[in-house]
Structure formats: C-alpha cells, structure tokens
C-alpha cells in the first residue's frame, strides 16, 4: 500500500501520472505469467523463474477464456480478471488461493477489458467490452458487482482508460468511431469519427458493405496527451488530443491497419498493416509517419523490449509462425525469428524489466519466451489448450486481440 502511494506521488511529480504505473506489482507478482486458454477449463499460471506451469485456476466447462489481467488490490492481494466469452461471464480470481472469488454475468461475448482505479472506484473498476451485444459492463472490482451496462456501441473491441481513470476510450470494431465514456457518469459523452468511410466504400461497395473493419483499440502515448486509433477500412490512423478529445490529425498508413502499439519511451507508435503486410512507424512527438518496415503474414501483436529500442511483431503466415524483429534505434528491420511451421501466434506479454517476451502459440499449446538480448527462444509446452491472452502484472503494454 505504501508502495502504491509512493508511486502515485512519483507520478504526480512527473506530471505524467499513470494508474497503470500505480499498478506496478511486487517483484513476486510480476514473476507470474497468466494465460487464458480458450479450450481448457483453466487459466494457466507460469512461474517465470522456473518457466514451469505452477498452477491451474479452474474454470467451468466451455468458458472459452479470452483475456486475463492481473492487479493487486488495496489489501495487497493479487487478483485476476478473466473474460469467459463462452459463458457470457467474467471471473474474479484470488490468485494466492487459486479460487474464483466471484463470477458475474455480463453481456454477450465479453472479450476485452481494461482495469483502472478512479475517483469513483478507488478499489478498481473494469470496463468489459461485450462485443456481440454492443455493450460495456462496468464492474466494481471492490464490491464484485456489475454496476452498469452501457449500450450503444458497435462491436466494442478495445477499452483504454486515461491516466486518472476519469474517462475511457472505446474502440468500435463495427463502426468507424471512437466513443469516449465519462467514468463518473458511466455514459458516452463524445464520439469521434475516424474516417470518411462513405468515400472509401465507393471504391468497392460490395467489400465495404459486407464487412466492417473499424477500430480495434485506442492506444495512449505514455504521457497520456494523445491517443492513436487505426481504422482498418479507412487506412488511416487518427491522432486524438486527449485534453480536448478532438481529432488532432489523421495519418495515412498502409492497407488494413490493425492497431497502434506505443513504445515505452513514448517515441514511436507501430501500426501493423495486415493488408499490405507492412508495419508503419509513426513519430509520436511529430505525429507523422517516419518509416515503413516490411512484415509478412498477419501481425496480431507488437511487443517492445529494451526500453523501446527493439520491437517484436508476432506474425502468422500461411504455413509458418514467425517474429519480425525491428531495431528502433537505427530504424532497421533486423530479420525474423521462426517459431515453427504451421503454428499460429496470438498475443504476447513483455516482462516488467523489458528483457523477455512471452508469446502464446495456440496450435501447439505452448508459450515461447524470447530473450530480447539474444533473440534466443525457450519453449514451455502444454500450458493449456489454445492459449490465447497472456498477462504479467505490471506489463504496461499488455494487450489481447
């Protein structure tokens, strides 16, 4: 608790407070990797010191866990939130006891969520995006209750809180729009358009009227002053001024951009363009494209290591899973790391020290640890069936897809 207070004070002094930073765990807590397995009835806990599966936290059958996120509550207990997409529920887990503390029904198909502490919710709140029924469940994690279910979203995919938790940015995958929610009111207060899709659709109406690729996630820069939202159909990244909540700029990128990933040093936003298989590098200070890296395959995540000097892009091609390596100091592509034939990479978490990433490989039910200094791979097998979302408490760039 004292440590949390210290971190808050530090953040205030820096003028760039981040509650996620406040969620910095104890060293012990950050030595666990949590893995949501879509086809196992448990969440796997991997001890990162021994690289062994140390615990299985049981779930009910057909839970189809999608994402997990860990935090330490105000009593110092490590908790885990798991979205149970198959059961339209979320589970709140007491990690030390290895039991589900509460199971709450939410909307249809909960997948992604974000956790934050705010004035209204001093014991943390979670916004859970129920993608199938276009709603956001507001979960009071102090009381383990759903306090409100907000509607009016279109396939809500990513949820991003600002640093003090006063508002949340909701990415609508089924629309070309970012919704901004006032956390005190728990309602949408502003909506931002991310592209003139009607003009884009003129090129190929059949294509755009049969599927929408909107916004996957809104990514904040570490200083919290701007947010980046890539629109899959518009081929644009919209830069949002988070103070005014207004569009600052739009940056053209490659085809079918997935989402933006922020480097921890705040210098770069990397945007994988899965249409033309490239990665756009955007200067986060100038809000302009710096360069484009070649990629290959469908990129489902980017992890930064070594303080942002290096980035790994997880890619899956027709017959191979690989990791593209980018040197951001010299702005060069450094080659690829082959993970294996006929595998599929899902998500990855970065260790708190930024020296290792842990990649979920869903086909062979494994986690691959990649050493950032040597690019050496260590495999942990049989972590569960179809490992999907991974998290380490304190990994500030934890994501899912």
């Amino acid at each position: 608790m004292r440590k949390i207070r210290l971190i808050i004070a530090g953040c205030l002094l820096m003028g760039a407070s981040s509650i996620r930073a406040e969620m910095q765990p104890s060293q012990e807590a950050s030595q666990r990797l949590f893995v949501a397995n879509r086809d196992s009835n448990y969440v796997s806990v991997i001890d990162l010191k021994t690289m062994q599966l140390s615990k299985k936290i049981g779930l009910e059958p057909l839970s189809s866990a999608h994402m997990t996120m860990a935090w330490t509550d105000n009593n110092g207990r490590q908790k885990l939130l798991v979205s149970l997409t198959g059961r339209n529920e979320v589970a709140i887990v007491d990690v030390e006891k290895g039991i589900i503390e509460a199971k709450l029904p939410v909307g249809r198909s909960p997948e992604h969520f974000a956790i934050q502490k705010s004035k209204e919710f001093p014991d943390y709140v979670a916004y859970v995006a129920n993608i199938e029924d276009g709603s956001i469940s507001v979960i009071d994690l102090g009381k383990n209750v759903e306090v409100k279910r907000m509607s009016g979203f279109h396939e809500p995919h990513g949820v991003t809180f600002n640093s003090d938790g006063s508002k949340a940015y909701i990415a609508n995958l089924g629309a070309h729009r970012v919704d901004i929610v006032d956390s005190a009111k728990c309602e949408i207060v502003k909506q931002l358009s991310t592209g003139d899709i009607d003009q884009v659709a003129l090129k190929n109406p059949q294509r755009y009227l049969s599927e929408i690729k909107g916004i996957v996630n809104v990514t904040l820069t570490p200083d919290g002053r701007t947010a980046y939202a890539a629109d899959g159909d518009s081929n644009l990244v919209t830069v949002i001024d988070t103070e005014k909540d207004a569009v600052l700029k739009t940056i053209p990128v490659g085809e079918n951009p997935w989402r933006a990933y922020s480097s921890p040093d705040g210098k770069w936003m990397l945007v994988p363009n899965n249409g033309d298989e490239t990665v756009s590098v955007i200067d986060s200070k100038k809000h302009s494209a710096r360069t484009t890296f070649p990629a290959g395959g469908v990129v489902t995540g980017i992890n930064f290591v070594l303080g942002g000097k290096k980035a790994y892009a997880l890619a899956t091609t027709a017959n191979e899973a690989l990791i593209h390596v980018y040197d951001l100091e010299n702005m060069k592509e450094k080659g690829t790391i082959s993970i294996g034939k006929n595998l599929r990479l899902e998500t990855a978490s970065t260790s708190v020290d930024g020296k290792t990433i842990y990649v979920a490989s869903s086909v062979d039910n494994s986690i691959y640890a990649v050493d950032a200094l040597t690019d050496k791979i260590t495999k942990v097998s049989n972590v569960g069936v179809t490992p999907w979302g991974t998290t380490i408490e304190g990994d500030m760039a934890s994501y899912c897809h």
Binding site: R177, L192, S193, I197, D198, S210, K244, A246
Partner: protein, 420 residues
C-alpha cells in the same frame, strides 16, 4: 423468480444473432466529433464550427426476433406508405379597410375563407401522388381596391375575383424520384410557384405574408395552376436546378406548343457561424400564343438568409422584358421574419416587409408604381391553430382594369389557420 427465469433463458436459450451493416448519416465537426443527428443550426457545440453531413457504415447485431420485428415494422411501414394520407387546412381571413382617401372603400370589411384537402399516396417506391382540392368562399379587399400587388393572395386561386363560392381541384400530380431523390420528375396539374421563386419566409399566404407581391415575384407571369411538367435536380451538395413547363393558358390544350417555361438555379449556403442562406435565380418566358403577354420574358432572384438563431431576412427582385412595351416593369421587395420575438412565445413569428412594383403602363394601369408594406404577428396557439393579426399599408395603388389608383390605404386583418 423473474431473475431465475432470466438466468435460465440466458444460459439455455441465448438469442440467436444476425448481423447487418447499415449505412447511416453522421454529422461530423471539423475536430472529429460526430453525432447521429444534426446539432442545432448545424453548429458543433464543442467548437462552434459547421458540421458536415456524410454517410458512414455501422454493424448492428440483432436478435433474430428483433430482425423479424424489424422486418414486420418495415412491412407495416411499407403498407402504411401505400395508404392514402389525408390532411386538411382551413384558413379564415377578415380584412377591414381602416383608412382610405376614397370614400367608396373606406371602412369596408371583407371576409374570406378557404379549406384545402390534401391527399397523398405512394403508389410505388419513389413515387408520390398528390392532390389538393380547395373550396373557397368570400372576397378580399382586391375586389374593391384596384391594385397589382394583391392584398389577399389567398383569393388568387379563384379564377375570377368576383366569383365567390366554389370548389376546385388546385393540384393533382405524380412525382417520381430517381438516384436517391437527386432527380425528380413531376407531371400533372401543377403550381409552378411551389418549385420556383421559393423563399423560406415569404412564400405562403396562409402562414407568412398575405400580400401577393410578398408571396411570389409579381413579374413571373406564370399562368394559374394547369397541366405541366417539372424536372428538378438537386446535387445534394448545396446547389439545385429545375425546369418547368406549363400550358400557357392553363387549358390543357396544346400543352407542348408555346408553353410557359421557367428555369431556375438555386444555391444553398452557410455563412458566418453556419447560418443558412438560399438564393434562387430564375428566368421565364411566356409563350402564350395569343394575348397581350406573348413572348414576355422575365428574370428574377429570391434570397433568404439567417442572421442569428431568430432572424431571417429576405429579398426579391425581378424585371420583365415585354414585346410591345411602353415601359418594362420591375419589382422588388425586402423584409424579415423574427421567430420568438417575445421571449416567452417561442413559436410565434413576426414578419415585416415592403414591396415596390413599377408597373407596365397598359390597360387600366395609370399609376407609376405601387408600394405596399405588411406587418404580421403569427401567434401559435396549438399544433393545430394559429392566429395572425395583420396590418397592410398600400402607399399608392397602381389601379387595374377594375378601377382607378388609390393612395394611402391602411388595412387591418386577422387570419386564422387550422390544420389537421
């Protein structure tokens, strides 16, 4: 128990979902803020800048039963659209000549009323069938005061001013729209002034100014309602154009031979902080094969402009070129309309206007010019009832074939309009 049932339903019978991609309008501010309905006066509340309307795509997920419900709603709506919709409007006008230099017209009071029955149906998609049957009774001051401006424009649909009570078919036409309603084609018995020389605040004698020269430009020279055709094209980007052709003598005989023709180009624009303005430029030719107006040409402009949230100003001007003129006439008018003039009366309207008409010197017209002004205050009493006290001053009338010019007429009136 209810909770248990809901829980059971949730787990055992989750509603099947279907996806639909819908094209919907959005209103986008320059700073990216977007809303699904237009903000007031099309101004963004965040930055006071003008919004842009555009279409966007959204994915909606419906329960199967919702989808069926939506289909049923759609079918019901379609069925409803096939039905004939009926509207009725009644107008009663009392006008009293309060002041006149002529003893013959002094203190006269006139009563006139009309009932309009509107029938609207949609025989097929993008097609509209419209009928207006009007019944009128009584007379206005124009039966006593010879003038060109027309002191009660509601009486003009009577073929002859002296004829009092009658019912007739004013309009009956079919409208077909194409290309998302960008193109419209109208054919039937039409009123050309519904489509040309329009003005937002000076174009309807039943709810705005009653004086004819403030309802339309007196120099258009269009025949009374008759058979004709109209083509309209709206770019949906602020400009539109139209061409209208009508039987010059309203008879329906020789409709295509030497018709009255009119063409118009219109612009819709926003100025300053997004206040809406319209300008209509038109040109007309009277192709009547017989009679004094053959080969008359006229051109004019009508404009209106919002200034702030309450005030709209307007103006009209026109000039005619006649084949055998003693003098080519011209006309102009200016005025304003103020909404919510009294703070507590949000839906009341006040109108003030002045019109000038330099007449052609011809049969019965010995006056040089005719100048008229009008002030009305429209009191909103309910969604169905409006009451309007009206004051008109004709500084000098030009006379007509019915009588000699007169000066300094002051007419008080009261108009009641009932709509259902």
């Amino acid at each position: 128990m209810k909770k248990k049932v809901a829980e059971l339903e949730r787990v055992t019978f989750p509603p099947e979902k279907s996806e639909q991609i819908k094209k919907v309008a959005e209103y986008v501010c320059p700073l990216g803020h977007t809303t699904s309905s237009p903000p007031e006066r099309f101004i963004c509340p965040q930055d006071n800048l003008k919004v842009k309307e555009r279409m966007t795509l959204i994915k909606v997920k419906l329960d199967r039963r919702e989808e069926i419900g939506e289909k049923i709603s759609g079918m019901l709506e379609e069925e409803f659209q096939k039905r004939v919709n009926v509207a009725i409007a009644g107008t009663g006008i009392v006008q009293h000549i309060a002041s006149s230099l002529e003893s013959t017209t002094k203190k006269q009071t006139f009563g006139q009323g009309s009932i309009d029955l509107y029938l609207l149906s949609r025989p097929m998609n993008n097609m509209l069938f419209f009928t207006n049957i009007e019944s009128q009774g009584g007379q206005g001051p124009d039966s006593s005061i010879a003038n060109q401006s027309i002191l009660n424009n509601d009486t003009t649909s009577l073929p002859a001013v002296t004829q009092t009570d009658q019912a007739r078919l004013r309009e009956a036409w079919i409208q077909k729209s194409f290309s998302s309603q960008k193109f419209q084609f109208i054919i039937g018995k039409i009123d050309l002034t519904n489509y040309f020389d329009r003005n937002r605040v000076a174009n309807d004698e039943n709810s705005q100014f009653i004086t004819g020269s403030l309802v339309n430009n007196p120099l258009i020279g269009n025949p009374s309602n008759g058979p004709g055709i109209i083509f309209l094209y709206d770019t949906r980007r602020g400009s539109s154009m139209g061409i209208g052709l009508q039987s010059a003598d309203s008879s329906g005989v020789n409709v295509t031979e030497e018709p009255f023709s009119i063409a118009e180009f219109s612009l819709r624009f926003r100025v300053l902080e997004g206040q809406l303005g319209n300008i209509h430029l038109w040109g007309a030719r009277n192709g009547r094969t017989v009679g004094e107006n053959r080969d008359d040409y006229s051109a004019g402009v009508s404009l209106d402009q919002e200034l702030g949230s309450k005030l709209i100003i307007f103006g009209r001007a026109g000039r005619a070129v006649r084949k055998n003129p003693v003098r080519d006439p011209h006309a102009w008018s200016v005025g304003l309309q103020i909404r919510n003039f009294i703070t507590e009366r949000r839906r009341d309207k006040l109108g003030l206007a002045y019109s000038h008409f330099l007449t052609p010197i011809g049969t019965g017209l010995s006056g040089e010019a005719e100048n008229t002004s009008e002030l009305y205050y429209s009191i909103f009493l309910s969604d169905h009832l409006t009451l309007s006290p009206i004051g008109q001053v004709m500084f000098h009338s030009a006379g007509s074939s019915l009588g000699s010019p007169q000066s300094n007429l002051f007419i008080l009136g009261l108009r009641t309009q009932v709509t259902f």
